[in-house]
Symmetry: D2
């Protein structure tokens, strides 16, 4: 079993509450309030900036050239490709880059991103990647699951492009690479005591990610 699967199993309730959050169900059946989705998209732009910083921190904390390169590639991918893709995606929802740039960062956004970054500073590279994994690998799981689920509405579902993006081969590759890296780091560093600590970290990160969905639903700041 991969470390990611073990962490999920250790935090099963938190995980279920995250991947099966009402926001996610609303994406699947198309019932999500578009205003909630727009709020989420705006916050996601701010999120991407701190997400990029997390990969910068990962590149700094790496102790092999391979790990530096892997983190640098994700970092560059985020700031040079993904952010523009996000802006384009948002344009379909009537949101402009200017809207995104003037978005006030929501508490739930700060809560997750700063938790991840601080966990990275306090611990080592494995801690940082475990804290990132509910997002990086979790979005892949959510996308894949929704795409495979026959009850997911495709035709006429305005959220289908979002689902298809995370279910697509490109993102699945990102998620698989992240899971493999977790295992590689765990090979070097995992002990029983450490697993318990990582599970604590993973559980908190997962709850904070669920809070990000909730922020979308509530359109809260």
């Amino acid at each position: 079993m991969t470390l990611f699967e073990r962490l999920k199993a250790a935090c099963a309730d938190d995980w279920a509450a995250y991947v099966d959050h009402p926001f996610v169900r609303g994406l699947a059946d198309g019932s999500l309030d578009p205003a909630a989705f727009r709020h989420y998209l705006l916050q996601d732009y701010v999120f991407l900036i701190h997400f990029a910083r997390a990969y910068a921190l990962a590149a700094y904390k790496a102790d092999t050239l391979a790990d530096i390169r892997a983190a640098a590639a994700v970092l560059t991918g985020i700031v040079d490709v993904e952010m523009d893709l996000h802006v384009k995606f948002c344009a379909d929802w009537g949101l402009t880059r200017a809207d995104m740039e003037r978005t006030e960062e929501a508490t739930a956004n700060m809560a997750y991103t700063r938790f991840v970054l601080e966990a990275g500073h306090a611990g080592d590279l494995l801690d940082l990647h475990v804290a990132l994994s509910p997002c990086v690998i979790g979005y892949g799981e959510i996308g894949r699951r929704l795409a495979a689920d026959p009850t997911t509405r495709r035709a006429g579902n305005p959220y289908w492009p979002w689902i298809a993006m995370y279910a697509g081969a490109d993102y699945q590759q990102v998620a698989d690479t992240a899971a493999a890296q977790l295992d590689r780091l765990a090979d070097a560093a995992l002990t029983g005591v450490r697993f318990a600590k990582l599970a604590g970290l993973f559980g908190k990160a997962t709850r904070l990610e669920a809070g990000f969905w909730q922020m979308g639903l509530d359109r809260s700041l």
Copy 2:
């Protein structure tokens, strides 16, 4: 005008929402639900641990022996004195050290503490102290204001000891020292552009501190 006063003025709405939060009003007139206060007290124990870590980070980031000593004194004060005082204070509310040690950290708690710590890593010592100031100096202001307010209920108000603690000479000295240090750091580093950035940081930290009150009211995790 001190830097702290300038920051408050720049974030006047956020500041008012924090220092005049319904939780604070409930402390003043004694109407706060004791269950909300207990929830707050339990979270405050967890908070103190990360607050101590913030002063440890401040001691690390200091570039004068005086600043290292100042931060080390606060750090030691928290872990060797304040935490025990907190435990004693909580005993009067029927909470044991064991209750505190098994408290699950609330999102609002993580949100503020990790924001402060991460701001300290991302920036310099002034950024860190600005992020801490809504708490350190703000509690002094809240205590002083409530104690001076004739409408504050003293007799029979179960929250009066809490108010008296923060209004007392010891805590006021802590707050004054923190404000003076902010000014000392600002003397060396403040520019117009920097002030705008610090005000952004202060505003976010203040909103996250208001979120801590709200967490108490809502008893949320």
Copy 3:
């Protein structure tokens, strides 16, 4: 006057000792012992890894998307392009990638790189870039000066390709970009007190860079 020029002026003796170091003179007239240059090249490979980590840290510490992108571009350039160029350059000196990978890091190498990284953690982005500048901008100055100096030997000088690389338009652009970024950061953060601190940092970093040349000359570990 740019911040970089002001820092050089404030640390004139240290700067002269660095840019006019016997190692540099040996490059200019071709008299440098090839064994010293090979030692330097091997250490420079290890240096590049920590140099990349410094730009990763800069990307993390940046508070604008433009600064994140700038640092990410340098980071990616180092690990995806420069390291391979370095390996190719070294092949002309009979050094293989395996030689580089098994190089024991010299004290002078650790001294400079860890100083830079730690200065970045302790302070802010400006501190980090000031600590990097004797290297990034300094190599550009050294290359340009040697290439412009009529006494520099070109024909038959085995070190001419090294000089030409740093005097070339590509590297000069890197150095100019770095100097401009220093000024942009200084616009936001420079005060008189701060300048004095930065000059102290710059002087130390410059001495440590001179130590890197000396390590080459001495072939020391």
Copy 4:
């Protein structure tokens, strides 16, 4: 076998070169040039500041209240007690506090302290404590060994008070506590791969500590 003993065994040559350095032998037989010792003492004052910062970083990186308290106690001990003791010790060698405060930090001093601090940032608390251990535990071993060695000169040896200080019960307790903490951290985090990485870190730190002795001998900056 303690982790510290395992690390020493894995880096036996580096360890021998450090604990049996000519500087140490000169302390033992009293032959060390007093000018070298004074140079060392002045640098040691600067060292203590960064040593204190390392314990501040350890307090920040700790994830148990016990580890925060342990690091905070050492930090406070350094800045509130040891630095004054050092100043008093130095007074016997004709050095004033003003001499110490204007000491230019030597490269060997920066090399070790920044290496330790950066290792702490890059890795976790165990990495930080391993990097500190050649100093903290090593000085205890050196003091104990010299005090137990019949060839060590006591009468008329101006360095005997230095030896006696590190051989004394107070410092031995400090060293034992540090060794026990390493083992406690290792219990939670040690794997075979991790041990190899820690041994690499320990070896570098040990070589940098030997460099600190050499700096004393050479009176180098």
